[in-house]
Subunit: 316 residues, 2 copies
DNA sequence: CCAGCGTTGTAGCGTGGCTACATGGATCTG
DNA sequence: CAGATCCATGTAGCCACGCTACAACGCTGG
């Protein structure tokens, strides 16, 4: 009984994505192929692994057990590949990095360029995605590094069982139309103005709300943006004040006043996660990108604090 | 890059057996198939894994690294199967036990019968083999349990990186033709008689020699046996004295006097080894056989001491 | 230097996995 | 409550991969 890795990857993907169709999409095959592989794996394992539930499927207890082991096995395979690269001290190959939008341009793009310049055989690929999708893609080896964020006082994404590499802290800034002239840096002084915020389902939107509550008022949110560029434009148009992380302040349009938020001080932590490597080494190519991420200086105009200390050390 | 388990098993086998042909034999395929799989694996890994050396091949450094990881991966796969069986508390399947000759009949056969009687879905298969071959077959998953021996003062087989389960200690006995009448139990009193010993390359043969040296004399070894039955027949024929472990004394022919060796006291330890399971559980079927091995009472006439204590505990 | 062993290439066959399509069950909607 | 939709699973057929059998080649030991 030999439990092919290919099949185990299928099971893992079904467990991760919650269905045959989603797993098939992630694996770039048809649902039929996934279904057949699952059936074959169940035959080999001796127990049914999934059972139908409504429109979809759920894992049986055997399926859950095997899925957990599958992730370990896939990890062991990855460690073998890493072992080969480490033995040859070769920084080469493709590293796929997923990042939430505002860090993708400000942090990941320069880090990718820096890493590729330093290592000619290294190929870094960046993809912009929301945190949760990055996390899933990381676990299913679509990505090698996920750059995630965690706002103060807002529950972050679950990163247990993933390796965490701090990159930077990014304090919130208060932006107001220049014409207002109310530049105290204190949130409480802006309780009576209209607000611009990120969408309610985003951690930034939740963070804004929480910060206002800390300052003792309920913000009158008139406009909702997804992209920080729109937030800036709305503020530039005089339609309200907003709270944005420093990294979003690379290209501030005219008519916007920026100041650090001094009361209450709040912000977000930016960090990278990788698949757990146990007690083994990090793949040299991934280590090179993590290094570049830790060392990149955010573009002028941002107020982000680097956290290079310890990151390079943590990688080896 | 996905490194199929099947291929990794091929590499592992080549590393273990030291050649393509030997690995092919162990895997029940032709050498050509092994060679092709190896070439394919090298292509996937990105490095050559073997290089020709004289008539055979040796692993490159990359090959060695990958072989080590291969064993871990194969272990992880086995732990997955074990996890399924444990989750269903099902003592079923085939357990292959390899044993050195004298324990195979005295210990393993009754243990196998006992285990199969207790668990109807359990299939135990016994094969007699020398320690070193059992060890190799255990590591390449041809066997699930290897029953090995270790004589006092004789270097035993390397069992590092294998899980060890003590079964019994087996003290040496002095056997002499009945007619001699020299029954002191002391080796030193038999310095001037002819001897029968096991072949020089066997640990028992070496043990006999060492015991005589401890007693201060060089034995005059006239006859060499492989099987203890022949040893007994030679002694029964009056051709010499011999030193044999208690377990070999199940069917003592007429004309042989048996007494425990009291000076010097020496013997062998009998133990089972299994593939390392890390911090995971033992497969229920294997645990059942280990349990039976620990609990079996050696047939009447032997002088073996059971070591049941702690074995059952160690298994869970 | 030849015989033999061991590994590697090549042709051909069989197995197995994939796609495309069809089927069947469950949920949502008008 | 029926039709639409979504999701998983069977079926047929094609393609790719791995195996065997056979041949060739290199090294070693007598």
């Amino acid at each position: 009984m030999d439990l092919d890795v290919r099949r185990l990857r299928v099971l893992h993907e079904v467990a991760l994505r919650g269905g045959v169709t989603a797993a098939a999409a992630a694996l770039h095959v048809t649902p039929s192929a996934v279904s057949q592989q699952l059936a074959q794996l169940a035959r080999e394992a001796g127990y049914p692994l999934v059972e139908r539930s409504g429109r979809g499927v759920v894992l049986t207890s055997a399926g859950q057990v095997l899925a957990v082991h599958a992730e370990r096995i896939l990890g062991a395979v990855e460690q073998a590949v890493t072992g080969l690269a480490v033995a040859h001290r070769r920084v080469a190959g493709t590293v796929r990095v997923g990042s939430f939008p505002s860090a993708a341009g400000a942090l990941v793009a320069p880090a990718a360029a820096r890493a590729m310049a330093a290592h000619p055989d290294l190929d870094v690929r960046v993809s912009e995605a929301e945190d949760e999708q990055s996390r899933l893609d990381l676990r299913s080896a679509v990505l090698d590094i996920a750059v995630l964020q965690e706002y103060d006082h807002v529950p972050g994404i679950a990163t247990a069982e993933l390796d965490r590499h701090p990159i930077a802290t990014d304090p919130m800034h208060l932006i107001t139309p220049s014409g207002w002239g109310r530049h105290t840096g204190r949130l409480g002084d802006l309780a009576d103005v209209p607000w611009v915020a990120s969408a309610a389902y985003t951690p930034c939107g939740r963070s804004t709300l929480h910060a206002c509550h800390l300052a003792g008022f309920e913000p009158d949110i008139r406009h909702r943006a997804i992209d920080f560029a729109l937030t800036l434009d709305l503020v530039a148009a005089g339609l309200g004040a907003a709270l944005v992380p420093g990294m979003a302040l690379r290209n501030v349009p005219a008519g916007v006043h920026v100041e650090p938020l001094v009361r209450p001080v709040t912000g977000r932590r930016i960090f990278a996660v990788t698949r757990p490597r146990g007690d083994g080494p990090v793949h040299p190519a991934i280590a090179a990108v993590l290094d570049a991420l830790a060392q990149v200086r955010p573009p002028a105009g941002t107020q982000t604090t680097r956290l290079a200390a310890g990151v390079a050390a943590a990688m080896r």
